[in-house]
Amino acid sequence: MNTIKNLATACGFALSATLFSVSNLYAKGTTKLTDPEIANVAVTANKIDIEYAAIAEKKSKSADVLEFAKTMANDHKSVIDQAVALVTKLHVTPKDNSFSAKLLSDAAKTKKMLHSKSGAAFDKAYIDNEVAYHKAVVSAVETVLIPQAQNAELKGLLEKVLPILKTHLEHAEMVQAKSSGHGAHKG
């Protein structure tokens, strides 16, 4: 039984690991993103986490998980609203790219995995994925999106989003530790 649970967790980590590997490719500078592509990656990454939250809001009965999912849905919507307002102001049309495509293909697999679970197994899979996903996205924003953004306002928006993502990661780790019986949050 534990082996099955560990396998499910490993799947979540594996998907985020592939995102890390794509991030690394871009971070090394072998492939560069343009500002319209960066805007597309930013909006896509936020939309994906809203979709994960929607699944959690339907499937979970854990107060901690539901509160976390609600925060993800609201915060990522606020970030998308700001990003859309900025690209509208800058007359930039977000452009599809291989980074966004990778995010979407990984997300499709993760959503399938989440839909296949229920009860405590779902809660664990969801929160484990949130920890792994936010680690991967924080890394992508720090090493790819911010350094490669050319427009100062776009770079500034990404810099404002980064602490939000880091707080989400800390919050996810808190829920993860609490649900696994490793104690309450830091502080």
Partner: protein, 127 residues
């Protein structure tokens, strides 16, 4: 005036974001019957302590204020926050939306946190 500056300096030591508002009021003290009313200028000093909510942290994360003083929490983040007493969650600001503020009258010390982002914490010390 010297006393005012001393007080101001002490408050600045407590917080990086003190705002001092000095209002000058003209008070008419003479009777209406007087052809040339006497005027007196008095200085009234009001201290407003400010906590900035920015980059997902309360700044300063600990603030020490006098009892009865006003503390304003300004949310500069793009997401909502709350200021909620850790010991009594019914003692809460409610949602503080982006670019909005919450004002409280400092009457007791308490540790607070953001209910939406529980890793965000701060402390209000009333003396």
């Amino acid at each position: 005036m010297q006393k005012w500056f001393k007080q101001n300096h002490q408050d600045m030591a407590h917080t990086k974001a003190n705002v001092i508002i000095v209002s000058l009021e003209l008070l008419l003290i003479s009777a209406c019957t007087s052809p040339q009313p006497n005027t007196e200028i008095t200085n009234k000093t009001k201290t407003i302590d400010t906590v900035l909510i920015q980059n997902m942290v309360f700044t300063p994360d600990s603030i020490s204020v006098s009892s009865g003083s006003t503390v304003v929490f300004i949310n500069k983040d793009m997401v909502d926050h709350t200021v909620t007493d850790q010991a009594d969650t019914s003692h809460s600001s409610g949602m503080i939306h982006s670019d909005s503020a919450y004002t409280l009258k400092a009457d007791k010390s308490f540790n607070y946190y953001c209910m939406i982002h529980p890793v965000m914490k701060g402390k209000l010390v009333v003396h």
